[in-house]
Amino acid sequence: MSETTREPEARRLATAARDRVRFEEDALALSDQVYRVARHLVGSREEADDLMQETYARAFRSWRSFTPGTNLRAWLLRILTNLNIDRGRRIQRQPDSQPLEEGDYFLYNRLEESTDGPTDEDRVVQRLSQNDVVEALSEVPHDFRDVIVLVDIGDFTYADAAQILDVPIGTVMSRLHRGRRILKQAMAASAVGGDG
């Protein structure tokens, strides 16, 4: 190979190496945010740690398939949720098999009923403890919990959540709608007792 043909090739390799380094730095800079979501998607810290390492190993191998300028955090979480499913940590189930849940005002009404004297919104929400929320979230079935974690905790848009979970946007909306209601029922049961 002559000097003149080697030069563009060397330049191309240098550019690719620079792009890869930048990609890896950008991905690592998002690791705290990805971990935060991962930790809620799986049951334990150990599982989250394993999943994070698998996710980043795969992301670094397939960095060329990421389109610069698109949402890298969503791209990483798409890998993570796919790996989570592949590893069989989750039992896929039909969301429609869930029993019908109460309406959106249910939690407020339950907490208000159980509060003595005059109430305002602040006092009602104070009936809940951190533990009530954490326990309730763990009781929400995976399909519903995933969208709550992504949208309400991870701040993803409906469209990003749909891309990450590889489901239509309408499915994200319906799971979010039902998931929040299931969460509220579980919080009511935890805070007030009874069957919710």
Binding site: E24, L28, H40, Y108
Partner: protein, 76 residues
């Protein structure tokens, strides 16, 4: 203007800002005039914030962060 039942249905989409302009205006008119729904709307706002704060987890372990860095492609 929507009624309390419709307002309850629209509450979450309203908070997610995905209602149409017309639906949003209807919901806001109802919330202005209905103290029952307004009280529940304020509760829902507090609740979202509370849930977000309640589920804050411990930061990513430093050892894990180190392991992720070690997965990077070695520089030649």
């Amino acid at each position: 203007m929507c009624n309390c039942e419709e307002c309850e249905q629209w509450m979450q989409p309203y908070m997610d800002r995905v209602l149409t302009d017309a639906e949003r205006a209807e919901a806001e008119t109802h919330l202005d005039e209905c103290s029952y729904c307004r009280k529940r709307y304020r509760f829902e706002e507090h609740l979202r914030q509370f849930v977000r704060q309640a589920v804050v987890i411990e930061p990513m372990p430093i050892e894990l962060k180190q392991k992720l860095s070690e997965l990077r492609t070695p520089l030649l």
